[in-house]
């Protein structure tokens, strides 16, 4: 469910579950991690999605059918965020169409995010009794702290234009069709940088902003996990029309 396409020196990884708006399953997150390891010779990573939507978040139908899935997804997402953040290569996300909840959390792991004006982005998961805490440490580093707070507490989506204004995306192109090509072009530019200097700089930035500290990320994951299985989460997920 991860499509891998080499483009020059890049590895373009796409969520490949278009019929489900690329909703994340535990297997997809595991596959993403293993694909990152197998494309070790690539100079940069582009994370995208097949079809019109980057990623609609967790597969909630699967979560509803099997209690074990939601904690597995939260834990897997935390692992992917850490892996992307700590990957020494440039990581660029094409946030086209929609990047929602767990899909939007991946933006916080990237070095650069490209979106487009009418894309929809956000974390509306408190409405189903899930805390987006797992995304908070990296999102709070990406945007100013106030907008991060607002996005995580308010169950609403914002446009790509606003996302670029608050720092959730670094570039905002006009149309959806321009989004992934621009992400690939940006990754190609970054791939030209001396890899040693890039890796050292990225690692130093992770040290400065604390995104290399497992303690913070573990606490955030724990906050999300603690609500799983509670009556609020169970009832709200059960009542959700999918």
């Amino acid at each position: 469910m991860i499509a891998f396409e080499p483009v020059g020196s890049l590895a373009v990884l796409r969520f490949d579950r278009e019929s489900k708006r690329n909703a994340l399953t535990p297997r997809m997150l595991r596959d993403l991690l293993s694909t990152l390891n197998t494309c070790a010779s690539a100079r940069a990573i582009v994370l995208s999605g097949v079809g019109p939507i980057f990623c609609a978040g967790f597969d909630l139908a699967m979560c509803r059918d099997d209690d074990a899935v939601l904690p597995e997804l939260l834990t897997g997402l935390s692992g992917v965020i850490r892996a992307l953040r700590r990957d020494p290569r440039p990581v660029v996300v094409s946030a086209h169409g929609a990047a929602v909840a767990g899909g939007c959390a991946l933006l916080g792991a990237a070095d650069a995010v490209v979106t487009h004006a009418e894309a929809k982005l956000g974390y509306p998961v408190v409405s189903i009794g899930i805390s987006p805490a797992v995304s908070a440490p990296t999102l709070s580093l990406m945007t100013d702290p106030g907008p991060a707070r607002a996005r995580l507490l308010e169950p609403a989506l914002i446009s790509g234009t606003r996302a670029a204004q608050i720092g959730l995306a670094h570039e905002c192109v006009v149309t959806r069709e321009e989004c992934e090509p621009r992400a690939i072009a940006l990754a190609q530019e970054l791939a030209q940088k001396p890899p040693g200097a890039f890796a050292y700089t990225k690692r130093w930035l992770n040290t400065i902003d604390g995104s290399d500290r497992d303690e913070t990320l573990e606490r955030a994951l724990r906050t999300s996990l603690e609500l799983v299985g509670g009556p609020e989460q169970v009832q709200r997920l059960a009542a959700l029309k999918l």
Binding site: S140, A148, I166
Partner: protein
């Protein structure tokens, strides 16, 4: 507390949404000691309200809050520090409230008043509102509100805003992300606040609270040191000859 004092800050509630109103419209809701005492009492009350999941914070009349009411305390030794410490403690209580807070900035939000808006989890205003921190223009250091502005807009924007003084429009505040929601005019504000409050209230209360607690931990909002030290610094600067001269000149106008 007598009735007059409690009326300075009112609380109305239609569970799960409450509205806290600074209610001193004849003084543009300026923060006097009495108003801050009333605010503390309301915040203490709210800290125990488990039925409210969203709190709208606003001002009665045309202004949201004109900031610290210094004219009554300038000649009383120790009074500015008392006022500023009370504000610092109020900001800490407001931030720590268990419900999500939405500042509905209906009009001018100046200095400490703008600080209160920034302490709230989300801020809504209209394009023509005036917001900002003109303290340096008056010889005053906005030290109590500085930590909260840094937590709202980041260190770079906060530095520019606080050192430049002056006021900005709601539109500019939105572009700097000091405000999260913007409507075109005052006439649109109430409906927008209701919509946002209801949307926030649709969230799972446990999920909202857990997320807010984590965010307060991540940005160190739970640490009282900076606002309280800020109160001391601000009081020290207010006592300086420069500030005294400028404040007295301003009051004489």
């Amino acid at each position: 507390m007598n009735n007059t004092q409690s009326d300075l800050v009112t609380l109305s509630a239609q569970s799960p949404v409450g509205t806290l109103t600074l209610n001193r419209p004849d003084a543009r809701n300026a923060l006097s000691l009495e108003l801050l005492d009333a605010l503390h009492a309301r915040l203490d009350e709210l800290a125990a309200r488990t039925d409210l999941h969203v709190l709208v914070v606003t001002g009665a009349g045309k202004a949201f809050c004109a900031g610290m009411d210094l004219k009554l305390v300038l000649d009383v030794p120790g009074a500015p520090l008392k006022l500023l410490t009370s504000l610092a403690e109020a900001t800490l209580k407001l931030r720590a409230l268990p419900m999500v807070t939405l500042a509905k900035v209906n009009g001018a939000a100046i200095g400490g008043g703008c600080g209160l808006a920034c302490v709230c989890d989300l801020t809504l205003t209209h394009a023509d509102a005036k917001l900002g921190f003109p303290e340096v223009d008056l010889g005053v250091c906005p030290a109590v509100v500085a930590p909260w502005l840094v937590r709202k807009v980041g260190a770079g924007h906060a530095r520019r805003i606080l050192l430049s003084g002056g006021l900005m429009s709601g539109e500019r505040a939105f572009s700097l992300a000091m405000v999260d929601h913007l409507v075109p005019g005052l006439a649109d504000l109430d409906a927008a606040a209701d919509t946002i409050a209801q949307r926030l209230a649709s969230g799972g209360p446990n999920a909202l609270r857990a997320t807010k607690d984590l965010l307060n931990h991540l940005d160190d909002s739970i640490n009282p040191d900076l606002p309280l030290k800020g109160a001391q610094l601000s009081a020290k600067v207010i006592a300086s000859d420069e500030a005294q001269a400028m404040l007295r000149a301003k009051m004489t106008k």
